[in-house]
Amino acid sequence: MNAALAVDLPALAAALLATLACGTLGNWLVLRKESMTGDAIAHAVLPGLVAGFLVTGTRSVAAMFIGAAIAGAAAVVLSTLLRRVARLEAGAALGLVFTAFFALGVLLLESQGARQVDLDPECVLFGSLETLFYAAPADAPWHAGVPAEVWTLAGAAALAAGFSIVFGKELASLAFDPAHARLAGAAPRFVERMLLAVVSAVIVASFAAVGSVLVLALLVCPALIAAPHARSVRGQILLSVAIGSLLAAAGYLVAAHADEILGTRTALNSAGMIATLLALAVPCSHLVRAAVSRRSA
């Protein structure tokens, strides 16, 4: 395989799969007005991830996954509890809980035992898309050379899409009118808990490769880019994933080849570049919408 492709393809695949996974689920968070919950979970999963490693002593994906999902869900439940017990507004409760969890995670990471987790705090923030590459196996089938992160992300994307398809009608009804859906829904509590668990799982799967900044951007921005143009929930999800994928691919390529394209000394952080593009696209999309409706009016 071409050397450039061996570097670009796995990273591109990871970025696009993360867009599919986070972009899809993000629509539910945005429709529920819980955008910052994604940010909180992205920070809060860290101690669970490290604890999963410390308990099992291996970098077993399953253990870290379970630990992180528990931590993410616990943080959200705790912040809901704090709103009642300490009478904090939602934002303050979220901020208090996720900084505490994240600090604990950083502490664990920097402590001796967890050094072999092979995750430094900087990667947690900014991701490590740049380090993914395809190593053509000598005497194994081709897919043996695909980095594990890509497989994990593929699983996350399948989970997010499957969950949104199977529970789409309940999720839409809960987002539109929670009081009504909680009274009359088929299994509202179950679906809300599942959403929390699936969001946690997808965030965990994504953030080792793309970092917490890009996880947040991917959860929130594609949905908000699509929102002014969408006429149905399904339309919003499809549009958000389509635009998000385009921007993710563009952002990755510009950053990874910045030395050639922008004339910088080195390649740039691609997760950050994608996040910047996505965030910029949100107001642009709204301005386009406003201009279109002015013209037609």
Binding site: K169, F176, D177, A184, A186, F190, A227, R231, S232, V233
Partner: protein
Amino acid sequence: MSGGATPALETRGLSAGYLRDEPVVRDISFTLARGSMTALIGPNGAGKSTLIKAMLGLVPFVTAERIAFLGTDLATARDRVAYIPQRSQIDWNFPACALDIVEMGLYPSLGLFRRAGRETREKARVALATVGLADSARAQIGALSGGQQQRVLVARALAQDAELFILDEPFANIDAFTETSLAEVLRGLRDRGRTILAVHHDLRSVRTHFDDAILLSHTIVAQGAVAQVMTDATLAQAYGFHAEGRAEDRAEHHSGPRA
């Protein structure tokens, strides 16, 4: 109450609030017969919305000797009870058309895994037609007028085929024409044996829209037929002033001081 049928809604000794030991409504007991149409009235801050949310389990601190929906508990009667929240509590920019919202009333009957199909869509259309919105089925909900939005929510409850309709301020901020047509829809439901309980703040239109009323000021001041409930004495007790004419004006301006 007619015959031996169980009442549509029965509440005894209910107290509820958002803080522990600080009930907004106290010692509430009332019974709604099936096929009745009742307004829940009272000054601002009297706890009208809190009371209906408390019965539906949407308020954190509730104590009651008995709350029975259609003769049973809420969990069992869930799909036969429709709650229609205040229009202002809903984000009307939600990406959906009127028909999508009405279909949501049918989701519980579909269960978790069945998807909405042609049959669901047809039932939703019928419900929309009942509230006079057949032509707006494909309109974005954000583009509808306030009264039309309110009727979409009623249609969602219709599609659910509920027996008891609990509405929070259905007539708030809609024009006079829509108010009349919405009232007709609700009376049509009553005539088909459905039970209606609506929070209502406009004392002038209680008589024209409703048969019965409950006058609330943290506790129940009076209940029964509208004419019996809305006397000078009871209104003075709830709103803190005398002539009904003045009471109407004050209630209109959302500023009735408490007795």
